[in-house]
Amino acid sequence: MATYPIRIRALLKGDVTSITAIVSHPMETGLRKDDAGKTIPAQFIQVLTVEVNGKKMMESHLNTAVSTNPVFNFKLKGAKLGDKVVVSWTDNTGEKGSGETTIIPG
């Protein structure tokens, strides 16, 4: 089974937390063909959520147009140092992944 590493960073500066999440994911469009001329089936993240201390803050709905190994930048206001940030995703084939980090000084 394929694995999809995820890296997350959450940096607090002033009262704004900047979150960067990088997911290793093919984000295959379903429009490309392999060397044999066979269409490579679409595989792309459809839903990506950001939770802070268990509360959902962001929900992103995505299409095949998001680049391979996608990078997301989000911002929060009012979160605190040490708060737990969880980023989770689900793709169109049912694969799922998530990662977590704590907010550190930026």
């Binding site: 709905h61 299409n63 147009a65 998001v66 990078v71």
Partner: protein
Amino acid sequence: MNVTRRNMLKHLGSGSTLAALLVSGLMKPVTAFAGPWSKPSFESKDMAAAMKNIDAAAAVESKDILLTAPAIAENGAVVPISVVSNIPNTTRISILVEKNPMPLAGSFEMAEGALPDVGVRLKFSQTSNVRAVVTAGGKSYMTQKEVKVTAGGCGG
């Protein structure tokens, strides 16, 4: 009539609970996420259909949306796009690439405490306008700019 005091209180109790739920629901629309991934929206084949499917057909141009995109992208497979909305009560930012086979690239919804400030990297199949659509207080706003692509990102 056979309404005991106890039953009466029960009925009143459930009624006021319902009212409280309704009020809290009305007071906090920003914490509600709009539901599952929308196949019709994401599979729309042109800008007009996509705009209609995300309830933004009546979007008005706004200078309070800051859309950052390169004027020229050498690699259409990785085009960095960021959108910041300065429109109060922004609850959703959608990004559409007009000339892509499916224009709607992503929709980002935020609860209270999340800022309307998102960055993502997108594929462009060719030179195209990229459009940011903001939903705020039940209305839609938009801005767009052109990205010239020298090598497409969706080819095979």
